[in-house]
Amino acid sequence: MGNYFQEEIECAPLEKIRALQDELLPKQVRYVWENVPYYRKKMEEQGVTPDDIKSAADLHKLPFLSKADLKAAYPYGLLAVPLKDCVRIQSTSGTTGKRVIVFYTQEDLDLWEDCCARAICAAGGTNEDVCQVSYGYGLFTGGAGLDGGSHKVGCLTVPTSSGNTERQIMFIMDLQATILCCTPSYAAYIGETLKEMGYKPEDIPLKAGIFGAEAWSEEMRRDIEKTLGIKAYDIYGLTEISGPGVAFECSEQRGMHIQEDHFIAEIIDPNTGEVLPEGSQGELVFTSLDKKAFPLIRYRTRDICTLTREKCSCGRTHVRMTKPKGRSDDMLIIRGVNVFPSQIETVLMNNGYAANYQIIVGRVNNTDTFEVKVEMTPDMFTDNLGEVQARRKVLEDGLKAMLGIKAKVTLVAPKSIARSEGKAVRVIDTRKI
């Protein structure tokens, strides 16, 4: 019923997936023990040795890794192979101040590209497609991952990278691109621009989009789907674990299948570290089962989500994760309340504004100030001052209802909110805490 890149793995019965994980995990733990002194020390501190890990059920005995470990071990401390065996790095700016650098052997790249190829197939991609990769190329994993995946599927790959929207549109129209890969905010921007240029959804050759690397809401998905006339698929991944493709959506668009032949996912209580039963909401933790150069075990993603093994109509059997509620890295605490940018986005979209916004948090007299800059759109503008004020008030009320705290909404000119590498700068926090 579907289009699979590696059907025998993606649709394998659960017992088969479990048996594979039971076989791979003990081997991988021993491999890391022998090759990564940093992690071996953590294991020793916790009083656990590779002999204690007999199957995937023993995973919970192992110590966690976090962003702090990546910082402490920077740059080579978590590398498990000699540098001569590595063929590539990717890097992401860390929130802890140090960049994260991860290493790949050729096998690691193959594994990663397979995952991205599976994602493209799940979005309906075949070798008949023209796949435009408008994620940033370079250190960012988005461009490299989808580019490699697109090759594996056999799509005609158009490596536009991010930015230069006019040129993006020229390639989409002239080469009749059918699949677009980029961040959701950039997809929305391309959509807006096409609309401004007078293109209707039916004039646009795209049929599917694979959008990730940023939090986005269901409302934003519907909006992008409508403007571009496509089906928009979510893709998940993080540089530390390999990049996009660790999990991705299928035609069901209800949760992202995690590639369980390569990664074990757990949900833990972020406060106690305790593993939670299936269906619970908690922090997502990944263990890579067969990566060679940068094999992280029990890496805490800080993403809050739930997992489900409910049968999926697409035929894939791998566990599904919900869209992260927000990376705990993205979460802001304003006046003592947890605020996820994705919640703000939902309110904006529900009220007819574009999802381009910026949150500005500051502190005056020991009280947090909270401002949301929202770009004015032609649809929301009228010549009536009172009406524009009233609409702004509706937005403020909506934010209050969603977040529980009051935000000041400032209306700004279109396209005045900076976008870098196609990834919008969403939060400016000037508090010195």
């Binding site: 401004e196 004015m376 759109t377 032609p378 503008f381 009228t382 010549d383 009536n384 001052l385 524009v388 004020q389 702004r392 400032t410 209306l411 700004v412 000119a413 279109p414 396209k415 005045s416």
Partner: protein, 141 residues
């Protein structure tokens, strides 16, 4: 006939109005009348221009949000009492004015009105012998 007013959203910060006039000047759009309504957070510029099509195009190209609003324009004698006469007719016809602004020409003065039901207001005032100006007439002033 009502005329098209160009209404433009402005952020309330230094230089934005000037950026607007710069864009219009660079494209040879002549502003016939202009009024600015503002709050502490944002402003709305309302203006009559000689070339509505060109004005909206260049504004959009320069990332301004602009919309067209139908307004009624009347020419009156530039003498004491004439505005009063005009407004008496509005009252008599029970036409509600949302906002208005004015500019003085060489011989006559021009009054621009935004009302809630433009078509109805226009015909009521027309029946009182008041003929609103057309886009061409305003452009020619």
């Amino acid at each position: 006939m009502s005329v098209n007013q160009v209404s433009v959203f402005l952020e309330n910060k230094a230089g934005t109005l000037n950026k607007l006039t710069e864009v219009l000047a660079a494209n040879n759009v002549n502003i016939r009348a202009l009024s600015l309504a503002e709050t502490s957070e944002f402003g709305i510029v309302r203006m009559l221009v000689n070339d509505v099509f060109e004005a909206t195009n260049v504004l959009k190209e320069n990332n301004f949000v602009a919309t067209l609003t139908p307004v009624l324009a009347y020419a009156i004698e530039d003498k004491a009492g004439y505005l009063n006469n005009l407004l008496q007719n509005f009252s008599a016809a029970e036409v509600n004015i949302e906002y208005m602004y004015a500019f003085a020409g060489k011989e006559r003065a021009y009054m621009i009105f935004r009302v809630n039901d433009t078509k109805r207001a226009e015909s009521l005032l027309n029946s009182k012998g008041l003929k609103s100006l057309t886009q061409e007439e305003i452009s020619a002033v």
